[in-house]
Symmetry: C2
Subunit: 209 residues, 2 copies
């Protein structure tokens, strides 16, 4: 069993490797990965060891090969259909974000309860009535839902997801979502205020470990 914290760090190593790859740097050491992700080189080696041997020579890892391997570990399926519930400001910003599609997460559909929004499009993604959540997500083989609705929509969102075949959730709302279904659906809560707190700590303590 791989600890959750290791999975979080593998995602950070992958982002770092993609940036290094863009700069055409062929080899990377665990020390470099450690500096970019603010952990120790030992932690990098320990995390990678969960997933087998990565054939390090004395000079480091092959950037391209390691990036491909980590991508395969995190996203073996390579392509997911994703929907967003809530076609507001956040829903728009996430639909337009090019890095999601590059990583294999295709936002193909949005859902909303506002009749003025239903039927419109954001780029190529169409906005459907949230009452049609189950039939539309099944027809379009959507497995991941991003929740970007106001906090007061919590109950309704819990109900529509519970009745659906959705496999995973990214929750941006301040509420904790409880999905009572036999299948245990992973839910990732995102709270950007955490980033603000960390920045505040770094500015006031002057530490940039």
């Amino acid at each position: 069993d791989v600890p959750f914290a290791t999975v979080e760090r593998i995602a950070k190593y992958l982002r770092c490797l993609k940036r290094i790859k863009n700069k055409k740097i062929k080899l990377v050491s665990s020390q470099t990965l450690a500096e970019h992700t603010k952990v120790t080189a030992e932690q990098v080696r320990k995390d990678l060891a969960y997933f087998g041997k990565f054939g390090r020579t004395g000079t480091g890892y092959d950037t391209e090969k390691l990036a491909k391997k980590l991508e395969k570990i995190l996203n073996p399926k390579l392509n997911w259909n994703v929907c967003i519930i809530g076609a507001g400001a956040l829903g728009h910003a996430l639909t337009n974000y090019p890095d999601f599609k590059k990583a294999g997460f295709n936002i193909t559909v949005l859902f909303d309860s506002d009749p003025k929004k239903i039927g419109n499009k954001i780029g190529t993604a169409k906005i459907y009535d949230v009452k049609k959540f189950s039939p539309i997500t099944e027809k379009k083989k959507i497995e991941i839902a991003i929740v970007a609705t106001p906090e007061n929509a919590k109950e309704e969102i819990e109900q529509i997801i519970t009745k659906s075949k959705i496999k995973g959730i990214i929750n941006f709302t301040p509420a904790t979502l409880n999905i009572k279904s036999k299948r245990k659906i992973p839910i990732i809560d995102v709270d950007l205020s955490q980033k603000m707190y960390i920045l505040s700590f770094l500015i006031t303590k002057g530490k940039r470990r």
Copy 2:
């Protein structure tokens, strides 16, 4: 020197404590904090130990007291003036997010280069011309800048921040920002695709450690 990873976890413990506080739960154990943040109870105790004694009785920590202490550690200043560069979809969503203000991060001003947006307001926050970045941020005592511009604005953003007195940056753009100033300014890169990768791993491996 507190490791960066510890600061990240302290921010997660604080979010968890706030949720527990809302449910009127008076005492919380390191085990409960560990379960909510997907680390070990030992890690929780180790992290807290960096910041002194927290007076645990055998039954756990006082939820309210611990939350206040962690808030003070992360954000001793309690109130920051924050601006957003880029008044697009993401800029709108971040300006409207109530949890920033609750945590003491007040988004008072936005900057943009689009003449159609300059002079408008999002709620009470006004959109200024990005060419006036330094004078406006100094006049309004703005210390934190959130960057929500397209990737191609990288050079211009680096220049305006370098010339300013900004103390910290949250960067949402896919570019790495290089600020060449004598003061070392902490920069936090946010990439929401990392959350998608983690979710993909949890769904495919079926692990919810």
